[in-house]
Amino acid sequence: MDKPVHWVPGIRDRVRQLEAIGVSSVYELYSDVPRELLLDRAPSVGFGRMLSEEELRRLSREISSSNTVFTGPPPFTGGGWCPHWVPSIVDYIVSRGEFLTAYTPYQPEINQGLLQALFEYQSLIADLTELEIVNASLYDGSTAAAEAALMALRVTRRKKIVLSSTLHPEYIDVIKTWLYGKGVEIRFIPRREDTYQVDTESLDEHIDSNTAAVIVASPNFYGAFERDIGFLADQVHHHGGLLVQVFEPLSLGIVKPPGRLGVDIAVAEGQPLGLGMNYGGPGLGIMAVRWDRKLLRQVPGRIIGLTRDAEGERAFTMILQAREQHIRREKATSNITTNESLMAIRAAIYLTLLGGEGLRRLARSIWLRSHYLAKRLREVGVEAPVYSSEFFKEFLARFQKPYAPIHRELLRRGILGGLDVSRYGAGSGREAIFCATEVHSKKDIDTLINTLVEIMG
């Protein structure tokens, strides 16, 4: 090749390199490949030629032109994923090449900064949840829940997982998929119609001496907080199982942390912590675990630990690697390798910018905005929320008429409304999950309500 190829500087060295290697053509380096397997021409991918940066920019603009970014008011769509403010320096720090282009820190001495940032992430989550053991991230909230289920199966050597029916439907799907090969029984605790909380009266029917874990979300998919996580924990522990709570990280600015309620494993989607929405990914799988040596050995994924170097100076490194796939292979606690490190660092930067006091203020704002939205919806004849429970930033609302046409009309006016839960076979077609966060001003919320009034007449 005599013309340059993007990001292949060695093209100009190739003749000299081949000569040194002692071959006359690159194809000699593929001489061990059966002839019929070698393609005789380049596959037809991309646009049939190399594109310059300028052409790529044009392509990107063309793609963007048929996407709609809702910024008039930001989306009011809930479902475990909401718009949040991302501080400018989060993007700046994670775009620095030493973090962005690093690998997993297998060589700790040359990657202390990365390790320290991840250790700080673990520490901040530990203090937020009041649970001592935190790993360096899993993929997202759903897979963190699935990993928690697998961990509980290992710890208890039992064969049954009990799920709250108010978990995010996609989390339930993911847990089922991940447990498919394990021959595990999965049971569901129903919810109470009035509160949308788990029906504690039916607990005895579902939890027994074969139950490895109960997984409950608070706040749950519909936005409702459980009334008494501590009571649930007692019930599960009484039978020798573990309680797993799916939590919402920002809510911990004003609500009691899982560690204070007897939760054994807490998992969450870290998307609110400075990640942006990313059309659903990447997210950040948070996992925090109560201090217990037996549990510590069964935690999945990378863990960064505090240690010292040969001169006794403070240092950081990956710890307990004997749990992991590259050493333990089929007996590893998980197959996870690449995780969401850079997202964990985003969360750490975000949390240190807020500090405890900032997080408390932010959580109060979110509570106020979402409750204002609910109140305004009630004023225009929408049941919001549909239950009596407390909620934080999302809630289930019930309209007097089918929601889908209302949603379309909102969209036509540039507003992205709630998540129609009939998509998951839930409700009667009149229910949707709305959210309001710190990015929604009172005026944004009033705009939504005024538009709804226009539409609903």
Binding site: G46, E120, F316, R329
Partner: protein, 514 residues
């Protein structure tokens, strides 16, 4: 070159806990002037929450913005990525991550797109993902791909589950054995075990490829499939792959391709043509999305023939000009994660392929193989180093060399050599992998490094090997020039000192840790 040695920044940067103040926040909540008004109208959150309320702010240190920028800038200066220098970690494919990819994804405002936006409002994005799927299917010789798995290991889990469910649906649940070579990535046996398989280890033959007799012996009525990387982790092409595929298929098993090692063959050889049924690809390796210090990645899983029905859902479909997510799932394994996939790295992969086209990808693959063999040429014959398994055969994307003779003769190990490389400002290769090679250094330069970088690296390695024979103690003492000296792994992992968070440290200091 004479002069002072390379030196990494040594900031002795305090933890955020030691510089931050839990009461401090420089953060101004958007529209916070609304909050007093709203609180007057709605009452206080704490009162409404009652028993649920936390009562006090969480004990998290707060930093001023400039303090935070400084803290993290210093931490980056004690870190090392491809932007800093070569990172020839074998099987990790640490190629250059084009900045244009960062720019374009950022310009697309993906961070403002909600996963539940109506499909009509994300047609551009869906078109890009649809094209990406087509391109990846073409490159692998597969029919369809699911973009959902968030990393390679998740793609493997999906693939293993697909194979499991395929057999179960055919009434052959008894096919519960997955064959995995002893040279495979650790994720292969781990993923197979997670999917409920019993892992049967296949030995590597003297040539460095699958031992055909052992394969023959392992195959049987319980065989569900085989998980292979080709070229394998030694960098050798499994030249009898067509025969292997035939044998496995004849025994009723399926072939799974670990695409972590696609870089040396992309655009030249396709897993589908070799006989594989299911493939996963690492967008963050082969397709140049950055690793981010360990993630996010994207681990697309592809399938052909009847295995397509088993791919994780949703898949992107097109009707006329309109793209939509299809949730049809007659046989599929379900979802492997919430939503659609790690969109940001996927788009970087999309722009990478768009930039290079088939010809550019092919040239990249070829150059990565040229670079591997050029490195071999530069270190071959160095005292203390050997090239195990068919030393004369060309390698593909990577090569595994062994410093076993060095270790035997001087006591200097692969780990010591790695630390000595760090002292020269060079990232070490993957060490002690694959497990079948003692004192292994697994080297992969990718196509990103010009000959001069490889020459410098080889010279540094030769210099270290020589030094080992003169002054082994000095190498045992490496590294000296990094932010910290060699870390104490015993202290890090000892039950009495293991510290997975600062909370554990504080509780232990206070005598409160059970």
């Amino acid at each position: 070159m004479a002069g002072r040695p390379w030196r990494q920044a040594v900031w002795r940067e305090p933890l955020v806990y030691e510089i931050g103040d839990p009461g401090y926040t420089g953060f101004i909540t958007p529209y916070s002037e609304d909050d007093a008004l709203l609180e007057a109208e709605l009452g206080s959150p704490e009162k409404a929450l009652g028993e649920l309320a936390r009562g006090e702010a969480p004990p998290l240190p707060g930093l001023a913005e400039n303090q935070a920028v400084r803290h993290y800038t210093r931490l980056t200066q004690m870190s090392y990525g491809v932007d800093t220098g070569p990172v020839p970690l074998g099987s990790c494919t640490m190629k250059y991550n084009p900045r244009i990819g960062e720019e374009l994804v950022s310009a697309m405002s993906v961070h403002l797109l909600h996963p539940y936006q109506d499909e009509d409002t994300v047609q551009g994005l869906m078109r890009a993902l649809w094209l990406l799927e087509r391109w990846l299917a073409e490159l692998t010789g597969m029919d369809r791909c699911s973009l959902q798995p968030p990393a390679g290991a998740a793609g493997e889990l999906a693939g293993a589950l697909m194979i499991r469910k395929y057999h179960v649906d055919r009434g052959e649940a008894s096919r519960d054995e997955m064959l995995v070579p002893d040279s495979a990535h650790g994720t292969n046996p781990a993923s197979a075990a997670m999917a409920g398989f019993r892992v049967v280890k296949l030995p590597t033959g003297p040539e460095g490829t699958v031992d055909m007799d052992a394969l023959e012996e392992a195959l049987g009525e319980r065989t569900a499939g085989i998980m292979l990387t080709n070229p394998n982790t030694l960098g050798l092409f499994e030249d009898r792959i067509v025969e292997i595929a035939e044998k496995v298929h004849n025994a009723g098993g399926l072939l799974y391709y670990d695409g972590a090692n696609l870089n040396g063959i992309m655009g030249l050889i396709r897993p589908g043509d070799m006989g594989f049924d299911v493939v996963h690809l690492n967008i963050h390796k082969t397709f140049a999305a950055p690793h981010g210090g360990g993630g996010p990645g994207a681990g697309v899983v592809c399938a052909k023939g009847s295995l397509v029905d088993y791919l994780p859902r949703p898949l992107i479909e097109r009707r006329g000009d309109k793209y939509y997510w299809s949730y049809d799932c007659d046989k599929c394994i379900g979802r492997v994660r919430a939503f659609y996939g790690n969109i940001v790295p996927l788009l970087k992969g999309f722009f990478y392929i768009a930039a290079l086209g088939g010809e550019g990808l092919r040239e990249s693959a070829i150059q990565s193989v040229v670079n591997t063999n050029y490195f071999i040429r530069l270190v071959r014959g160095a005292k203390g180093l050997e090239i195990p398994y068919s030393p004369e055969r060309p390698r593909k994307h990577e090569v595994v060399v062994s410093v076993k003779p060095l270790q035997r003769e001087t006591g200097v190990s692969a780990a010591d050599v790695a630390k000595a490389l760090l002292d020269r400002g060079l990232h070490a290769p993957t060490i002690y992998f694959p497990l079948i090679v003692e004192e292994a250094l697994m080297v992969e330069f990718t196509e990103s490094e010009p000959a001069s970088v490889i020459e410098n690296y080889a010279a540094a390695l030769r210099e270290i090997l020589e030094e080992a024979y003169h002054n082994p103690a000095a190498l045992k003492d490496a590294p000296r020039n990094t932010a910290v000296r060699r870390v104490d792994d015993v202290y890090a992992n000892h039950p009495k000192t293991v510290t997975p968070s600062y909370r554990v440290y504080r509780l232990r200091q206070a005598g409160l840790l059970r």
